[in-house]
C-alpha cells in the first residue's frame, strides 16, 4: 500500500467543550487518521472537559476555577438554548446516525489519534492525570503544541 498521507500531520487545538465543537474535532480527527495522517488533538481550556472522567467533579478553589467549572456543569452539552440544545443535538445525532462523542473518542484512540491535555488548563482546574480518561498522553504546554503544529500541514482551532 502506498499511503500518500503517511508523512502528513494534522493538529487540532480543541479549545471548546461544546457539543457542536466536539463533533467536528473528533469527526475530522478520526477521518484524518483513517487517511493515515499522524493526528494530534491538543485539548485546552473548555476543550479539556472532553477528556475528564465523567465522575470527576471540579470543585474549584479560586474564582477562575469556579467560573470554568460553572460554564461546564453539563459536560459535552454546553449548547444550551434553555437546556433544549443538547437534547436536540442528541436526537439529531441518532436520527442521522452520527456517532456520539464518547464513541468517536474511543474510535480516535483506536486509530492512534494522540490526545494531548494542556498542562496549564489542568493546573487551572486542579485536574490530575488520574482525573482524565485512559489513553491520554502526558500533559504538555503551548510550546510542545506549537512544535507539533509547525510540523503539521493542517492545523485547526476548533
Amino acid at each position: 500500500m502506498t499511503d500518500d498521507h503517511a508523512e502528513q500531520r494534522m493538529t487540532i487545538v480543541a479549545w471548546s467543550g461544546e457539543l457542536d465543537k466536539v463533533w467536528p474535532q473528533l469527526i475530522l480527527a478520526t477521518t484524518a487518521a483513517a487517511y493515515g495522517m499522524t493526528v494530534t488533538i491538543f485539548f485546552t481550556f473548555w476543550g479539556l472537559f472532553a477528556l475528564k472522567r465523567p465522575e470527576v467533579k471540579i470543585t474549584g478553589d479560586n474564582w477562575m476555577t469556579k467560573m470554568l467549572a460553572a460554564m461546564n456543569h453539563d459536560r459535552l452539552s454546553h449548547l444550551n438554548m434553555g437546556g433544549a440544545g443538547p437534547v436536540m443535538m442528541k436526537k439529531l445525532a441518532s436520527d442521522h446516525k452520527v456517532a456520539l462523542p464518547q464513541e468517536l473518542l474511543a474510535t480516535a484512540q483506536e486509530l492512534g489519534v494522540r490526545f494531548w491535555p494542556c498542562s496549564m488548563t489542568m493546573d487551572l482546574l486542579g485536574l490530575k492525570a488520574e482525573d482524565l480518561i485512559d489513553g491520554v498522553g502526558q500533559p504538555v504546554g503551548a510550546a510542545t503544541a506549537l512544535a507539533e503544529m509547525q510540523k503539521s500541514t493542517i492545523n485547526l482551532f476548533i
Binding site: M1, D4, H96
Partner: protein
C-alpha cells in the same frame, strides 16, 4: 470477481464511520485481500472511493443497491 476475505457491515452508521471503520478493518487484512463494505450512508458513495484513492487502496466494485451500498475494496 475477487474473493472476499471479510465483510464489514456499517449499515446505519453516518459520516465518518464508514470510512473510519473501513480503515480499521482493512488494516487487519493482508495485501491484495478484499474487504466488502456494506453501508447505508449515501455520503460513502463519494467518501470511500476518495479515501481509497488517497491511501492507495483499490475500489474494485461499487454497487448502488436499492437499500444499501456495497463496496469491494482491495488492500
Amino acid at each position: 470477481m475477487a474473493a472476499i476475505a471479510q465483510t464489514l457491515d456499517v449499515r446505519g452508521l453516518g459520516c465518518p464511520m464508514p470510512v473510519v471503520k473501513t480503515r480499521l478493518a482493512i488494516d487487519k487484512l493482508e495485501k491484495g485481500q478484499v474487504l466488502e463494505v456494506i453501508a447505508t450512508d449515501r455520503g460513502a458513495l463519494v467518501d470511500i472511493p476518495a479515501w481509497a484513492g488517497a491511501t492507495g487502496h483499490n475500489v474494485l466494485e461499487v454497487r448502488d443497491e436499492p437499500d444499501q451500498l456495497v463496496f469491494l475494496v482491495e488492500n
